[in-house]
Symmetry: C2
Subunit: 330 residues, 2 copies
Amino acid sequence: MLYLHIIIFTFLISSCSVPIEYSDPLPSWNDGNTKSSIIEFVNDVTDQNSSNYIKVSERIAVFDNDGTLWTEQPIYFQIQFVIDRIKEMAKDRPEWKEKQPYKAVLENDIKTLMSSGSEAIGELFVESHTGMSTTEFYKIGSDWIKKAKHPKFDRPFTDLIFQPMLELMKYLRENGFKTYIVSGGGQTFIRLFAEEVYGIPPEQVIGTLFKTELKEIDNKPEIVRLPEVFLFDDKDIKPVAIEKFIGRIPTMAFGNSDGDLQMLQYTQSGKGKRFMGLVHHTDEEREYAYDRDSHIGHLDKAWDEAIENNWIMIDMKNDWKVIYPFKLNK
Amino acid sequence: MLYLHIIIFTFLISSCSVPIEYSDPLPSWNDGNTKSSIIEFVNDVTDQNSSNYIKVSERIAVFDNDGTLWTEQPIYFQIQFVIDRIKEMAKDRPEWKEKQPYKAVLENDIKTLMSSGSEAIGELFVESHTGMSTTEFYKIGSDWIKKAKHPKFDRPFTDLIFQPMLELMKYLRENGFKTYIVSGGGQTFIRLFAEEVYGIPPEQVIGTLFKTELKEIDNKPEIVRLPEVFLFDDKDIKPVAIEKFIGRIPTMAFGNSDGDLQMLQYTQSGKGKRFMGLVHHTDEEREYAYDRDSHIGHLDKAWDEAIENNWIMIDMKNDWKVIYPFKLNK
């Protein structure tokens, strides 16, 4: 009977126990301090015997989008959408030919456009993003995202997501974390692709919000987008939005610019162990290299604070084996 | 060897397979049309072979709070919090003794208070709910909720939750649904107890929001509550909030009053099969009975629409075996 018991026991172990994975959860990350910091942190806070253990329900990881989960150069991809949309709309708006900032858009004068100030750019966002139902916006946005291409890589913008960050989010979700996007970009714009490309459902996308209202259109209740910003989810408003949408201080936060500084400080302020990371764009060849002097993705104060507080600097060039999923296995 | 195989096989079946539950998922619901409608709906939309199948990621159930998940009579419990808090604060505000609506509060003159208009009551909410950090509000609210008691039942307000709705939410979660609260009540107020008593985490509580700002207090970033409503989550604003916080049209929606009408209409507008239900307070003896003539929980237009659209009316008296968890097994 002992023999039988051993057989049954062996059988049960091999059939029923959760398989132990020894495979690398972050294969596109080079071995080194960055990768081991992440893995050690996750091992620690998910270990029930650790004093740093965090309950599953409290495991929240927040990610900036532009420059953290996908490329943001030469201009934020959503600005490219604005430009393309304004050009499309200009067919019915002949007066735009002589009116700034529309003129700059129509003449592909990006320099004039980008220096036209936040109010003018805000006007372009309002024109291109509001005055329609959410349903219509999804149609317009989905059509664009299928067709539009990045000027440098000649690929859809949704190809320009960071493979190592996809692995990181997957790894965190497998360890019980809820992964959220907390972006200065438009919430509805990001929802166009977040579930498909990042595995992040709409309810975990926090971004800049326009005012909306309920309106009956063709006997159907629709949410209509109004020409007024409701919440501009950048800098000090990121923690404000996190409190409203999540209601907990995150466990981990990842950003790449000064726009993420307050989100990382807020994350750090939580009790117990926390993880703060900044993606540093150091790879001129495979992506872009920029930091303190860049207007887009300006990384200056947040970098200083990272040094002071031992936040993890993710060095794209040295920490990442591959940048984009389409470069895998090549 | 055959004998051995049978033993092993039997062992594996009993040890490894997921136990099939034939037990009633809604034991506090009487058998009848209401209960079977719910169970048939859930069976249908979770059946991969059904044409009404809904993916797990899209299974969203939204619940009003006051009158749907807990009692709301004789006054909304949050109004009791306002009253108790104003009385507490009045020690440092002697001028309130002669000033309405504070005077009515201090003199327990509920009739004058309730007829003082929404602006006056709004002022009391602002006084009692803002001007402190979220951290401080949680402290104040938690202290109150531990001590305060319902005038009729002489029990903590969190005892006055509906056992059948707890079972319903658990049943839905076990079937892959995310359960959300979408309430006209204060989001932070509901977060005080929602996770403990309903199993609903803070990120799934949508309610009325005050404006907030990030402020450094004692060298720590804090979210401070400002004296201005940011989003009043009632009537037509419920769908607006659902679109912002969830970004999908819910699969199921439960309410109890005209304040929930638009949420149910919005839910109904989604493609595919949807479920809309209204809790009808018909039990004078065990809870309260009220509908068209009640100021609190006014149920009039929504009832008419329920009849017209075959929404499910949950008849407390006839559909529920027990109302409150503390009445179980008695």
